[in-house]
Amino acid sequence: MYRYDEFDASFVNQRTEQFKDQVRRRLAGELSEDEFKPLRLMNGLYLQLHAYMLRVAIPYGTLNGRQMRKLAHIARTYDKGYGHFTTRQNIQFNWPKLEDTPKILEELAEVEMHAIQTSGNCIRNVTADHFAGAAADEIADPRPYAEILRQWSSLHPEFSFLPRKFKIAITGAPNDRAAVQVHDIGLQLTRNEAGEIGFEVFVGGGLGRTPMIGRKVRDFLPEEDLLAYSEAILRVYNRYGRRDNKYKARIKILVHETGLEELKADIEAEFEKIRFGVLRLPDEEVRRIEAYFAPPPLEVRAETSAAVDARRESDAAFAQFVAHNLNPHRVPGYTSVTLSMKPIGGIPGDASDAQMDVIADLAEKFGHDEIRISHEQNVILPHVKLEDLPALFDELVAAEIAEGNAGLITDIIACPGMDFCALATARSIPVAQRISERFGTPERQAEIGELKIKISGCINACGHHHVGHIGILGLEKKGEEFYQITLGGSANENASIGKIAGRGFSSEKVVDAIETLVDTYLGLREAKEETFLEAYRRVGEEPFKEALYGVA
């Protein structure tokens, strides 16, 4: 994986020193809160409902055992013994003290980590497919490009005060697992007829209060033009994006209000001015960065394992795990394993310090010291030998991260909601917990099959509810929590925004409503292989609305 060079190390250390001094000046009264707030936000430090919250960057969701162990140490030493993996592949600590944060950033810098680009109106950390560098369906590893974008965007002087935050996601596989079409810029790696690498480019996707699917602006952007073209998009956005209204400041609104063709012409005109300048990517530089992401040496092995087959026969929980939590690896005999951070009835994305230590150990023992965080709030060991699965599984069971539910109804994305977030209008996590309990038996989950439920506790949509097969949005109505359901959303390569089913449900009724939807699906699907989303797309919303609200 990527290693800091001297520039990166001194850059991160400088930022830590600056922040240390900023905190000192704040505590001495030399900086007011109004002056300090943008500075702390540039270092990932928020003030939330109960306390400060520190969001630590895990660029493109990739880290190693040593880094994970440091996160465990921070949870244990400076927080309350846990961390929370987010929908942007980062980790949040919910209880740090302001006075401790410079020390925390120092400790992070020791393992090449930081909290830069996790907040503020800048280009945020680039996210990527969590199976990057391992997936069988991959055209190329997207992370070298994510890292190149990181180097370009970190502290980019022109783009440090954008109209609003700006999110870029990249996937290297045709099966989009990085939700690229709901990002400000979405990049899908592809090859042209000559076999050269390039990108399909989407602009103006996003969720929040105005959900939109990104519009394609390029079918094939050559590799060498990645930075110049990105810079052109950002320049157009920085110049024309609205600054008069925070809620209309994202690039999706600009795309919508300007019109795709005019905006594309603006981007292309800007691009023409700079494409042969300093931002043109030299091939040797791409290959140099790529070398950092060289896969571990994996020898081709048998495609099946007798040990796995035998264990599957004798252990239903293991069989369930193997059926759902493995992703095909490009090297025969290996697999990418999802460690579920969604225990039945548990809190989506939470990991205790002890669990983080176990994950670090297991990555070193079974996974060539590579770990990924998914935007679905799970942890992945991307390179595991098939025959190691039984031993790995035993250790996961002991650490309570062995639920075989990846992609199933209990693998729920939920934002922190009103239990933690100052912006939330309703709680998310308790709804996720109750759904998880309702559907948590292995047989029922497996029978239902793939079903992505995503829950947000306010209209800002951190829980991606618009792209849930079933989405749940928590609102406040007359002082009570109240949940609106959307149907038919998807964040993959066939992305769609879910449609509101009808009037919302009280906290007491919302889980019953979900069960009604699930039962309706089970009753009308053509076969077990037809997923909820496929069935919904085939029959439309009517049968589901009728089940929820009766005949109109």
Partner: protein, 99 residues
């Protein structure tokens, strides 16, 4: 009826304005203010404490007094006063058990 709340600057703890212009850790110890003038005066105390690097994010919130106990009107403030409902071992509710 209102109370004034904020977070301590240094550690982020949720606090309320109590008697004698002190910041207290329990909402039950907060001072209740009634009427526009009383609330405005209390907010001015808060603003001074903010300027003094004692607290941040000062605001007023609605409360009711039930059986002599101060209870926030909004669920958000009830959660803020107790701690996350998902982690009963954390926040004020955890301290209350050991106190």
């Amino acid at each position: 009826m209102k109370v004034i709340t904020a977070n301590r600057l240094l550690n982020g703890d949720v606090v309320w304005l109590g008697a004698g212009k002190t910041w207290v850790e329990r909402i039950t110890l907060a001072e209740v203010f009634d009427g526009t003038d009383a609330v405005a005066d209390a907010l001015a105390v808060g603003a001074a404490a903010e300027k003094n690097q004692e607290v941040v994010g000062v605001y007023e919130m609605d409360v009711a007094v039930e059986d002599g106990v101060i209870v926030p009107v909004r669920l958000r403030e009830r959660i803020r006063a107790a701690g996350p409902t998902t982690h009963p071992n954390l926040g004020k509710q955890a301290q209350a058990v050991s106190a």
